[in-house]
């Protein structure tokens, strides 16, 4: 494990800008301790992501290597730039949205520190180029987001926060062991991600590494067995923060899988496993989502479902050894980022508008929501198109289509619940202008941005998007979904109510078991601390060690 740790050339001009762009939110965070800066916190949060956005747009091929012992290397490639730019846009939108949504500055000030740290982490994780920096930025975004989850501070929120932290730390433990296995197998001990992934197929612990990678990033992407934290924490987090979290922060899992899975050499069993997990999450998310009443919970389950689709895309890519799968998945993720973030913002706007004035706000929500299900001519359709080849045309392809149908039903369910949340007391009330402007902006991004990014990201010509076959492919799942939704509402008017964090109830016995175990451990420890027993153990250890050394020595 010697020699220069990081291959690749040293810092270039754009790389320096990239580093400064990531450092900027942290500098602002330190600035928050001065009262003058705290007063204008709204503007600070808004300008924080802008340098990163600029670098994402301009600085392609940027590369930064931190000199000296501080191991931090950053590199901007195409998918990294795309995700970072999109995340920066969403964070800016949320930052503009927040002051208007929270009116008083007290909530904003309390969120300030955590907001800036999560922002720095979520932008940085897309551009980290070596294992340790990736782990550093990944833990920054996971743990700093905790501060945003427990902003409201009441007891149920704190429980959600505790579960969030539990899963976050569990995910990080998986990732740590995965990265250790990767680092051990990387040629020449270099920690750069490219070298590490190159060494993965030949590593003696290949299967263990892939398992822990999938478990670690699966927790972040809330795939089925490890998805409990998402519904609870998204319900607990206030709108501006959850918009940014659901949009940008979750994508850390996507970029992780995209970077660390060996797509060029590929591995069939693990690829199929990832696809199965993805598909299960996709359908599970929709099924449980339908039973929810709170719009934020429905969107949370929709996120689980969409992340499932992305996981399936990456899984198929890994199984088929399809080098372009990560780029397609990233493109799909960018659309989801805007759409999901936008819909959360929409909930805030609708809640503030009167029943009669809802339409100018509700129509774009419908477009974006159905876009997720693949409404033709919207960003969603392009996203579906991008991943269609990756999913292939066999069983998984059809499952892809079925998931589109399922998403349609779920989105229609979401729209009906959303309409219900409009203010009935002041029918004519209008949400503050900034809220509506920000919402419209993000909705536009969700619908239009994929059009701009399609060819550079995935290489499909725009003409494919408008060709009659894709239009037809987009329409029929929506039609069937619509029919199902209308029929469903008539057949079972009140579907069963499942509390968010559905199988959490299953965890309760596990919790009790852990409680009993810790009581047992405490009792044995108290007995062990009695003097005679400790003395006897002391003598026993003397004998044990001498015998142990005797055996080791004589053998």
């Amino acid at each position: 494990m010697s020699g220069s740790l990081l291959s690749g050339d040293a810092t270039n001009g754009a790389g320096l800008l990239l580093a400064l762009a990531l450092l900027f939110p942290l500098v602002l965070a330190v600035g928050l301790s001065f009262p003058a800066a705290r007063a204008r916190i709204g503007t600070l949060l808004a300008i924080a992501p802008l340098p990163a956005l600029a670098v994402a747009l301009l600085g392609n091929g940027a590369r930064f290597v931190m000199p000296g012992p501080f191991r931090l290397t950053l590199a901007l490639d195409a998918s990294g730039a795309m995700l970072m730019g999109a995340a920066a846009l969403l964070w800016t939108a949320a930052a503009l949205y927040a002051p208007a949504y929270w009116q008083g500055g007290s909530m904003l000030r309390r969120a300030g520190l955590w907001w800036l740290f999560t922002l720095a982490g979520s932008l940085g994780v897309f551009v980290a180029d070596d294992v340790v920096s990736f782990y550093l930025l990944f833990s920054l975004v996971s743990l700093a987001a905790y501060g945003l989850v427990v902003l409201e501070g009441n007891s149920s929120v704190r429980r959600a926060g505790a579960i969030y932290v539990g899963f976050a730390v569990l995910g990080e433990a998986f990732l740590l062991i995965a990265f250790v296995l990767l680092a051990n197998a990387s040629p020449g001990g270099s920690l750069a991600i490219a070298d590490v992934v190159q060494g993965l197929p030949f590593s003696p612990w290949r299967d263990w590494t892939l398992l822990f990678l999938i478990l670690g990033f699966g927790t972040k992407m809330a795939q089925v067995p490890l998805h409990l934290w998402m519904p609870l924490s998204y319900r607990a987090t206030p709108i501006p923060a959850v918009a940014a979290l659901s949009g940008a922060a979750v994508k850390a899992g996507v970029i992780g899988l995209a970077r660390f899975l060996p797509f060029d050499s590929g591995s069939v069993p693990w690829g199929e496993l990832l696809t199965v997990i993805g598909m299960i999450s996709a359908f599970y998310g929709v099924l449980v989502g339908l039973t929810q009443t709170n719009p934020k919970a429905i969107l949370a389950y929709s996120s689980i479902s969409q992340m499932g689709v992305i996981a399936a895309v990456l899984g198929m890519g890994l199984a088929a050894g399809r080098a372009s799968a990560p780029a397609e998945a990233t493109f799909y993720a960018v659309h989801h980022l805007f759409a999901k973030g936008g819909l959360f913002l929409a909930i805030g706007v609708v809640a503030a508008t009167g029943r009669w004035r809802i339409w100018p706000v509700f129509i774009p929500a419908a477009f974006v929501a159905l876009g997720i299900a693949g409404l033709p001519l919207t960003g969603g359709a392009l996203a579906k198109l991008a991943v269609k080849d990756a999913l292939g045309y066999g069983l998984v392809g059809t499952l892809g289509k079925l998931s589109a149908i399922a998403s349609t039903v779920l989105m229609i369910r979401f729209l009906t619940v959303l309409r219900g949340t409009a203010r009935t007391d002041a029918g004519e009330a209008l949400a503050p202008l900034t809220l509506r402007l920000v919402w419209w902006g993000v909705a536009a991004l969700a619908v239009l941005a994929p059009w701009i990014l399609l060819t550079p990201a995935t290489g499909y010509p725009l003409s494919d998007a408008v060709s009659p076959s894709t239009l037809f492919d987009g329409i029929w799942p929506l039609a069937i979904g619509g029919l199902l939704a209308i029929g469903g509402r008539r057949l079972l008017p009140n579907p069963p109510r499942i509390p968010p964090g559905d199988i959490l109830a299953l965890l309760r016995p596990v919790g009790r078991l852990a409680g009993a175990a810790s009581v047992a451990i405490e009792r044995t420890e108290a007995r062990l601390r009695e003097w005679p027993i400790a003395g006897a153990i002391f003598l026993g250890l003397v004998l044990a060690f001498s015998i142990a050394m005797y055996l080791a020595g004589s053998s």
Binding site: M1, S2, L5, G68, P69, F70, R71, R110, V132, Y135, L136, S139, L143, G147, V150, G153, R158, G161, A162, V165, V169, L170, E172, A173, L176, I177, V180, A183, N184, G189, L191, W205, A517, S518, V519, I521, E522, T524, E525, L528, R529, E530, W531, A534, G535, I537, F538, L541, V542, L543, A544, F545, S546, A548, M549, Y550, L551, A552, G553, S554
Partner: protein, 517 residues
């Protein structure tokens, strides 16, 4: 009657050698001055002594890195086996500098505590505290420098006699009970260690570690002697089943004292075990014993962390966290075995273990000082009563949080680099079960750190009752220590050459920086 020792001690006093003597002598001179110059200048003398001690530690470091070989001093000019030698290799210099920094920081923290007032007549607590703090500093320097087993016995007695009165400095009944329990268990340990020293002398005629390395034969006498000494020292290091005295002692002691006890004192006896197992015991005899030590370490991590999570009081939680973190150190034994190509001290687990020792020392000192500040601010340290405390004394809880980050092993802390190296070593050596233990420990550590931070940082339901103001200087000392725990995380993730200086080639006698002549 021929003496079996054909090889005389090879090394002579190296130029910088006198620094080693000063490192031990200066604190003792400080103690004598405190007791003669009267209470007016107690703190002044103590703090200047600590400053001089720190300067000496840095001088030894520069001397070592300058010559690239161990700094040796033959006390009285007599050559071992008859006389005593002091020997500073890379590892001991790192620990001496660590001790100087932590005790210096604690000294700054404790300035003005215990009701010290230069003009008033002498009070018990300040005079005794400063004397014992200097005593611990001198004793630990002796442990890290001593090369003679009986000399090390006197050193660990010095440590015990300075640590026990610190535990019951506040004179309450239960701290005295904890101190008595600590003293008696430590005495059991040291008398067993002394028995081991006797057996080593009966077998080899010398007590000098460097000489023993070349003479030690694989025979029952050596095994029983090393077993007695190891278990005796385990009792003083409070490794899991023998940790009965630590929680009450470290929780009862005043904050400044428990910081030094937890961060440094338990590490002293660990260091001697390290020298026994890596410098005396022939490598082929360490296999099973090393697995046992690490097994006890794993139990320590599990039991210590789980019980830390269940504790009601902050200082007890931190004390049990010490019991758990000590377990990590013992994972070094099976992992730092080294192979033919790389000797033990060049393996990554060796650097990882020492990094863990150093980052735990900084983090734990910061956390205990923070606990002391919490007690100053709120008059109690019940965790349940700390809701919203983070808003009253934010710097303290930031220090506690950064310390906790290092314990959990989150980057960029020293704890993370240590965990990373130990994980690499356990995967590299194919002993994956230690990796599972390390990860479990990290999760559990997150458990008890968040258990304190979550209520502290949350919005309090009821206004928290503040007992008194907290001095900013003390909060900054705690924060500085916590930041040190993070800074050492930036050490390059590979075997540190500094730790290899002076360990020379494995073969034959340990000659500074080269093969035996």
């Amino acid at each position: 009657m021929t003496t079996p020792l054909a090889l005389p001690f090879p090394a002579d006093t190296t130029p910088g050698g006198f620094l080693l003597v000063l490192a031990i002598l200066v604190p003792i001179i400080g103690i004598l001055l405190i007791w003669t110059l009267g209470s007016r200048r107690t703190e002044l003398v103590a703090l200047t002594t600590l400053a001089i001690g720190a300067a000496i530690a840095l001088a030894i470091l520069t001397e070592l890195t300058g010559t690239g070989s161990a700094v040796i001093y033959l006390v009285g000019g007599w050559r071992p086996p008859l006389g005593l030698a002091l020997r500073a290799d890379g590892l001991s210099v790192v620990l001496i500098v660590l001790t100087a920094i932590v005790i210096g920081a604690v000294g700054i923290f404790a300035k003005g505590q215990f009701g010290y007032d230069p003009d008033a007549p002498e009070k018990r607590a300040p005079t005794v505290f400063w004397t014992l703090l200097l005593g611990i500093s001198g004793a630990l320097n002796l442990i890290f420098l001593g090369d003679d087993l009986f000399n090390l016995f006197v050193a660990i007695e010095l440590v015990t006699f300075t640590a026990v009165p610190l535990v019951c400095l506040d004179g309450k009944a239960e701290t005295m009970r904890a101190a008595l329990r600590y003293l008696l268990f430590a005495l059991l340990g040291s008398v067993m260690y002394l028995l081991g020293v006797a057996l080593i002398y009966s077998g080899y005629g010398t007590l000098d570690i460097a000489l023993l390395k070349s003479v030690a034969r694989v025979e029952p006498l050596l095994f029983i002697a090393i077993a007695l000494m190891t278990v005796g020292l385990l009792a003083k290091t409070a490794l899991f089943p023998l940790h009965i005295w630590l929680p009450a002692a470290h929780a009862g002691a005043p904050a400044a004292a428990s910081a030094v006890l937890s961060a440094l004192v338990v590490k002293g006896s660990f260091f001697i075990i390290l020298r026994l197992w890596f410098d005396i015991l022939p490598a082929e005899a360490t296999g099973l014993g090393a697995q046992m030590l690490a097994g006890l370490g794993a139990l320590a991590i599990l039991f210590g962390s789980v019980i830390a999570i269940c504790q009601a009081r902050l200082k007890l939680l931190i004390a049990y966290s010490t019991v758990a973190q000590i377990g990590y150190l013992f994972l070094m034994f099976p992992l730092a075995t080294g192979s033919e190509a790389t000797p033990a001290f060049a393996s990554i687990a060796w650097t990882g273990g020492i990094l863990q020792l150093a980052s735990h020392a900084f983090a734990k000192a910061a956390m205990f000082l923070a606990a002391g500040l919490v007690y100053d601010a709120f008059g109690h340290d019940r965790i349940s009563g700390l809701a919203g405390a983070g808003r009253v004394i934010p710097i303290t809880f930031i220090a506690f949080g950064l310390g906790g980050m290092s314990l959990m092993g989150l980057p960029p802390s020293g704890g993370f680099s240590a965990k990373w190296l130990m994980l690499n070593a356990s995967v590299g050596e194919g002993q994956w079960w230690w990796a599972a233990v390390i990860l479990c420990g990290g999760l559990l550590a997150a458990g008890y750190v968040f258990r304190v931070l979550v209520p502290a940082m949350a919005r309090p339901l009821a206004r928290i009752k503040v007992k008194g103001p907290v001095s900013r200087r003390r909060e900054l000392v705690a924060l500085a220590l916590a930041i040190m725990a993070l800074l050492i995380g930036f050490v390059p993730l590979e075997p540190a050459p500094l730790l290899g200086i002076g360990r020379g080639a494995e073969a034959g006698l340990l000659v500074p920086g080269g093969l035996a002549p």
